[in-house]
Symmetry: C2
Subunit: 334 residues, 2 copies
């Protein structure tokens, strides 16, 4: 298991609970407009995942659809009655700047979450509410700040009923369970070995969490990761498990939370029975906590820790994402 | 390359162009209500993909969000002003029946597309518009009928501007190009060999097409398939390509269409440069046709053909999906 002192990324993950609450409090300083017909989060990668997590947390209560737009433009349905929140940790993500400008041209209500960059400058000039989070982190390690402040904006926009107490409870759960989950992550990393990690979500709440797992395993451990969602998986991918070769050498991690439908739980049991022998091992991971927020974040933190343990076991540094930096350099030349 | 006569699934794929137009004409016989705040398609697997394709085709024009719900319930935002279209080819998909009943309880406007079963009976009893498509096909082979009739309902609901001429043009393109694409699919299958197929989408239009590829490769060829979407991929998965082992033995199929952003095209070029050596081969596949409908369906048909060629090269019968049937049997017992 990796040591804390030698591992800046692990230190950042350990800080997630306090970042979450700090982010929420910073976010409370801004009042975005209302989301009359949709709340749209435009952003990419480590910044966009906050929007996906919000959609999962609010799926059972939001009066309007929550859409994540990860491209240069926005769907046609996003218009003047939509609230668009542009999130770019660096403030210089070209897709997000483009999406932000499309939203401005369409007359959408807007708010911004960023640590600075062009996005902060352009939003300030246009007098758009801007939440400024602390700078200097890898975007994926800024989840606490970004997601925390997004929760505050979503509350203000009446998309999510939430009190500060709920956020405190989530922050406390994460801090309290941190060491236990870290040991668990170490065991999961050893169990995975050099097999392909496959993450299954089982609900709208765990769907974005599975995406977070995939991306954290990509970026921190420099590993491919495949994900899928039940019950949809049962209608197609169940047939694909085992060939050409990957699934015989794969380890399934299934994320289950309190909102997982009872029939989906039964599906999971039968699925594992029917496909036994097509994967190396399957581990079912249950969310902890009471609220949807706690449930989602408990699994997010476990996945973050797993990705760092996997990096350690592969002897790669979780911090640098060389290919992403190289791609940015090449894109900047054209 | 597989022969026609010996392969019922290939015959069904060949019939897709005529099924599409027939489905559209059947769908024109029903008038669903309006979609004031959202169009929601509830369905699973081979039935659900029509909703995802519609969302892609209409992304640049629909005045309301198009949501795909693939679970037992519906997001909270779906309500009385939403139009919910329940699609279950068999009419007996338990998740879809559940979603349909949730929509009824909420007072949503409703329409149904099915070949019969409980869904047809319950909808008729409740005097909900029902499109009845021909029975007796595997659901994934009924795409022409299901998607064609969904196009008609979406047009009637004013979510999509579309004329019969556009559908005829798409149908004609598919029929005209069929043999060429079949030969191309044969070449692609041989090039893939026993590597992992990885499908990249590059736009909102090609995103559901990549999903169709993945599911058809799952069901017809009984192969795992991994998919991802650009530009989001460039912010995380680019780092994961090449390890633990899958990507060194993977073949990338990238779907490009006219709506692919010029910066995303540039990203693709640089991506392939930066990650060269982490995959066996990369093939870029360009959509054909003029309209978004043609562009999407040209790539859908190519993927369907590829999945059948892959089944042939692996000497498996594309028709039976034994594990899905077994899961249904086990679920029916509880």
């Amino acid at each position: 298991m990796v040591g804390n002192n030698s591992n800046p990324m692990l230190e950042l993950v350990r800080a997630m609970p306090e970042h979450l609450l700090a982010g929420y409090d910073i976010g409370c300083g801004q009042q975005p407009g209302r989301a009359d017909d949709a709340l749209v989060i435009t952003g990419m990668g480590g910044s966009a995942i906050s929007g996906a997590l919000l959609a999962g947390v609010a799926a059972d209560s939001s009066p309007v659809p929550i859409l994540c737009s990860r491209d240069y433009d926005l769907p046609a349905a996003v218009g003047r009655r939509s609230l668009v929140i542009a999130i770019s940790y660096s403030g210089n993500t070209e897709e997000t700047l483009s999406g932000f400008n499309v939203a401005r041209k369409r007359g959408c209500r807007l708010a911004v979450i960023t640590s600075g960059g062009r996005l902060a400058a352009e939003a300030a000039r246009a007098r758009i509410p801007v939440v400024i989070v602390p700078t200097g982190l890898p975007p994926r390690a800024a989840l606490g700040f970004l997601f925390g402040s997004l929760l505050a904006l979503a509350r203000s926009a009446r998309v999510l009923r939430l009190t500060r107490k709920t956020v405190i409870a989530a922050s406390t759960l994460l801090a309290t369970r941190y060491e236990t989950w870290r040991r668990k992550a170490g065991r999961l990393a050893r169990a995975l070995g050099d097999n392909l990690p496959v993450v299954y979500a089982t609900s709208r709440l765990s769907e974005p969490v599975a995406e977070r797992w995939r991306c954290q395993i990509n970026e921190n451990a420099k590993l491919l990761c495949h994900s899928s969602i039940l019950p949809e998986h049962n209608h197609n991918e169940i047939v694909g498990m085992g060939a050409p070769y990957a699934m015989r050498s794969s380890h399934l991690f299934t994320l289950v939370d309190d909102s997982t439908h009872s029939r989906t739980r039964l599906r999971l049991k039968h699925l594992l029975g029917i496909t036994r022998g097509t994967y190396r091992k399957a581990t079912i991971l249950a969310a902890e906590g009471e609220s949807r927020l706690e449930q989602a974040l408990s699994l997010v933190l476990l996945g973050d820790l797993l990705s760092i343990e996997l990096a350690a076991s592969r002897e790669v540094d979780p911090l640098p994402v060389t290919r992403i930096e190289e791609l940015k350099r090449r894109m900047a030349r054209n």
